[in-house]
């Protein structure tokens, strides 16, 4: 018995086997009764009947083969026939499988990124509870909500995106951490990979949950991980357990490595106005989100009465909605980009399928005789179609295997493309797991439908009478392919233009000759006076370096950390504390007023957007002395937001930044500056210096990555489409060679022959380009609505695309045209 029969036997249902037994037993019984009725002894009757019947087992086996193996053996036959055919036509097989490998591989690799996050499902009934402004909650507010609300059965709060230093000394490493409160894991239905997860009763214990990734890399998947001590920011925590690999925390698409209780943040508990948490909850059954929102609004109104805020603030109603729990600044962009990339790779896949369809049609034309003979020998059309589809299936599986291998290699390269520096080198998760492989296989099977169905249906309708007429279907396929690749290229063009625009954007400060250093003194556990003293020493030491023109201190720098304060009547306003040298060092011009002097305190400099709202000095608790132009603060793409600088003479917080204006290229100063600072206290964790240009560039990385990725996919799409065009022209030429030979022999000018080929190529390329451009205008519009103005579809892009298409179209035509010119009438006609 061959393996396939064994497989069939194992698949054969018990029911069928019982039916067969019963059916044959009935027959034998009836025969025996008949004999006994005619007067035979029961034993004789049975023997006679069995002899007459022959081998019951053989009959059963024959029945089985009829019923269950009919299609299987036909399939096996088809497979063998298809494999033989594909082996015989190596060039065809390689071309078709390569097309599918590109199409399926591109899909697999993009899906391997999207898979990890878009399917991180939030359980039903889980909602985000937040003020409409999106502002954070204080610990006391969350405690009150947790205690007093009537509409949720579980609540949780989280503060994602914290940088934790884990371990001590040389073994220390920085990871992305998240503080969690309440029933975080249980509400999100996360189950531990080891140990247990945190719940509401753990709040005051120094407990932590580590990510699957960290468990593997730092603890070698130690099964006895629970109960071990982990130092987080120089405080001992006990590891409670390990989160599953599929859970990434609330900074998705970045992967959080540590979830800790709020033990690190006890100093924040008392301050009712210190917002740092985001809240989520699970609705009690039967409560709709809008009912919960109403209840929460009356609860917060009551709480406001109990805890009157001396500074009146703008009303900020509570909103209850489905999450979006991720607070990552790139989440929205990630989602839109994922959708865009999935759409683009779907297009690439369809182009690849169209190519394979084209190749199959061409081959069916070459196999006309064979197919016709089979049909006239009585093979049914259905069977023939099935056989041709089996070939497509085999091609699809070949392509999927190559595509999966391609995705495996390309995945890491692609991960390296993603903007790392924004997240301080945070990893993007991408793995090829069962779901990704299932997706790959689905595409392989779907390619049978997309690439194989039409050609095999047409092939089965072959008749010898119809010679090579203009393959209209293939022309249409080429129009669609060219249009699709123009669409992808134009979308890539939008991102490229957006990237160029962002490069040219005025960041509001002079990024040339600027070096920045981020300082974090948390590990030193300085008192405030000690910190003040240290910052002063740092500034003086760096200022004393030769070639340093000026040095300034700030608590946050533009395009770095965020800091906001609530200002009565104006709302949440971004701010930074800077010293008096800041404006000169950063090269920030003043529109009005003056820059503060070195020893003045309680001054403020506002930007134009805040100046427009005419804040009084009382509201800011500072005297406004100057106005600076609007400039991006958090990201390059943002629209102007109100902002003010608090002029500080002293810095005593653990986190601060240094801006340094240098005489020469700032990159030459980086090593000297970090060494100088490091020497002041060797216990300081390693510090990194970034030039102003580097600081800007990391914000451009998403655009750069998008432009690069889409550009690559666009070129792949174009390459596939042009291959299709070339194959069509080449086939056309082969079909028409005898006709052309006759014409040439009769004296037709060769340019007419060339014109024929040109027409065949120019019309579909022109039609495809026009359609593609029209479609990309729509897509650019939709994109602008999705992630804001990234760029536009402008004349430069369009001209470039048309030029590119014309060039490659001409190139694809030139080889067949050259061959047409060299047709020798005599030998061409002889071979017919």
């Amino acid at each position: 018995m061959s393996w396939i029969q064994r497989l069939a036997a194992s698949l054969r249902s018990q029911k069928l086997e019982q039916d067969l037994d019963k059916e044959l037993a009935f027959h034998l019984d009836m025969r025996i009764r008949e004999k006994i009725a005619a007067g035979a002894a029961p034993d004789d009757a049975r023997r006679d009947v069995l002899r007459r019947f022959g081998s019951v087992d053989r009959a059963k086996e024959a029945c089985r083969e009829q019923s269950t193996l009919a299609w299987l053996s036909a399939f096996r036959q088809d497979l063998r026939y298809a494999a033989r055919n594909l082996r015989k036509n190596r060039a065809f097989t390689a071309a078709a499988a390569a097309c599918l490998a590109i199409g399926i591989g591109a899909n697999t690799v993009v899906f391997s990124f999207v898979n990890a996050f878009l399917f991180q499902a939030v359980p039903a009934g889980v909602v985000r509870v937040a003020p409409a402004s999106g502002g954070p909650l204080s610990y006391a507010e969350f405690q009150d909500w947790q205690r007093l609300n009537q509409v949720f059965d579980r609540t949780f709060a989280y503060a994602p995106g914290e940088l934790f230093t884990i371990g001590r000394g040389v073994e220390s490493q920085q990871v992305l951490g998240e503080t969690v409160l309440g029933d975080y894991f249980r509400t999100l239905a996360v189950v531990p990979a080891a140990g247990r997860l945190l719940d509401a009763s753990d709040e005051h214990q120094p407990l932590a949950v580590i990510s699957h990734q960290l468990w593997r890399s730092r603890f070698h998947s130690d099964p006895a991980i629970a109960g071990q001590i982990l130092w987080i920011d120089r405080q001992p925590f006990v590891i409670a357990g390990v989160a599953p690999a599929a859970f990434h925390g609330m900074m998705a698409p970045w992967t959080t490595d540590i979830w800790a209780t709020a033990a690190l943040h006890r100093d924040r508990f008392a301050d009712r106005n210190m917002g740092w948490l985001t809240a989520g909850a699970h609705l009690k059954s039967g409560i709709a989100p809008h009912q919960a929102a109403a209840a929460m609004n009356s609860l917060t109104a009551e709480l406001k009465r109990q805890h009157p805020n001396p500074q009146p603030s703008a009303p900020d109603p509570i909103v209850v909605d489905r999450p979006g729990l991720s607070t990552s600044p790139v989440w929205q962009v990630f989602v839109v980009m994922s959708a865009l990339l999935m759409a683009v790779v779907a297009i690439v896949y369809l182009i690849a399928c169209a190519n394979v369809a084209g190749l199959l049609i061409a081959r069916a034309a070459a196999r006309r005789r064979e197919i016709f003979i089979r049909l006239s020998l009585g093979v049914s059309r259905g069977r023939l179609v099935r056989q041709l589809l089996t070939e497509s299936l085999l091609l699809g599986v070949l392509g999927a295997a190559a595509g999966a291998a391609l995705a495996f290699i390309a995945g890491d390269a692609l991960a390296a493309l993603f903007p790392k520096s924004i997240g301080h080198g945070l990893p993007f998760q991408h793995t090829i797991d069962l779901r990704v492989l299932a997706w790959t296989l689905t595409l392989a099977v779907a390619s049978v439908l997309f690439a194989g169905l039409l050609p095999s249906l047409r092939a089965s309708r072959q008749n010898l009478a119809a010679p090579g007429r203009t393959p209209r279907l293939r022309q249409l396929l080429i129009v669609a392919q060219v249009a699709a690749s123009v669409l992808v290229l134009a979308t890539a063009g939008v991102f490229v233009r957006g990237f160029q625009k962002a490069l040219a954007l005025n960041p509001g400060f002079d990024s040339t000759h600027l070096l920045t250093v981020d300082l974090n003194l948390s590990d030193l556990h300085y008192s405030r006076p000690q910190a003040q003293d240290f910052y002063r020493k740092v500034r003086d030491a760096v200022a004393a370096l030769p070639g340093v023109e000026s040095v300034a201190l700030a608590d946050v720098l533009p395009l770095g950390n965020r800091r906001e304060v609530r200002i009565p009547q104006i709302g949440t306003v971004a701010t930074a504390a800077v010293d008096a040298d800041y404006f000169r060092t950063m090269g920030i011009p003043l529109l009005r007023g003056r820059a503060p002097d070195g020893d003045e305190a309680s001054l403020a400099v506002v930007n134009q957007a805040l100046a427009d709202r005419q804040p009084t000095d009382e509201l800011l608790h500072r005297q406004v002395v100057g106005v600076v132009p609007n400039a991006p603060q958090w990201s390059l793409a943002e629209s102007p937001r109100p902002f003010f600088y608090q002029i500080a003479t002293q810095f005593d917080q653990p986190i601060a930044a240094l801006a340094i204006r240098t005489a020469g290229p700032p990159v030459n100063f980086a090593a000297k500056v970090t060494q100088t600072i490091q020497r002041l206290n060797p216990e300081l964790p390693p510090i990194a210096a970034q030039t102003g240009e580097q600081r800007l560039r990391m914000w451009l990385e998403p655009q750069r990555a998008a432009a690069l990725l889409l550009g690559t996919l666009g070129l792949a799409a174009l390459a596939l489409a042009i291959t299709g065009l070339y194959a069509l022209l080449a086939q056309l030429l082969v079909q028409r060679t005898p006709e052309i030979a006759v014409r040439v022999a009769l004296g037709a000018p060769r340019r007419k022959v060339i014109a024929l080929l040109l027409r065949q190529s120019a019309i579909p390329v022109a039609a495809g380009t026009a359609t593609g451009i029209a479609a990309s205008a729509i897509v650019a519009h939709v994109l602008a609505a999705g992630i804001g103005a990234i760029g536009e579809l402008d004349a430069v892009t369009l001209v470039a695309i048309v030029a590119l298409l014309t060039t490659v179209g001409a190139a694809a035509t030139s080889i067949p045209a050259y061959r047409a010119l060299r047709i020798d009438p005599a030998s061409a006609l002889r071979s017919e």
């Binding site: 039916d19 019963k22 059916e23 044959l24 009935f26 027959h27 019984d29 009836m30 025969r31 007459r52 019947f53 022959g54 081998s55 053989r58 009959a59 024959a62 029945c63 083969e65 009829q66 019923s67 009919a70």
Partner: protein, 110 residues
Amino acid sequence: MGKAKGDVLQGTLDLLILKTLDAGPMHGYGIASRIEQVSEELLRVEEGSLYPALHRIQQTGWIRAQWKHSENGRPAKFYRLTAAGRKQLQSEEERWRKLTRGVSKILRFA
């Protein structure tokens, strides 16, 4: 097991089955008995190949099977002719008539 006299000619079994089922649904034993009875014992169905044939024809969609109670109350698998089967029967009958006419002419004149 040699070929017994009167065994049904290869390829005609299908025709006989279809024709028999034209009279109404019947189980395998009934089909075999009826063929023998109607042909006045001239034809004998080789029982070992009757059931594989039934299962094969069922795959083509010309007949359908269903479990029902037989005359004596025991459940038996009844086969029934489908519309496609009826059409097939007509063309097979036609083919058979042509064949026999041709063969008998040759027997007469050759």
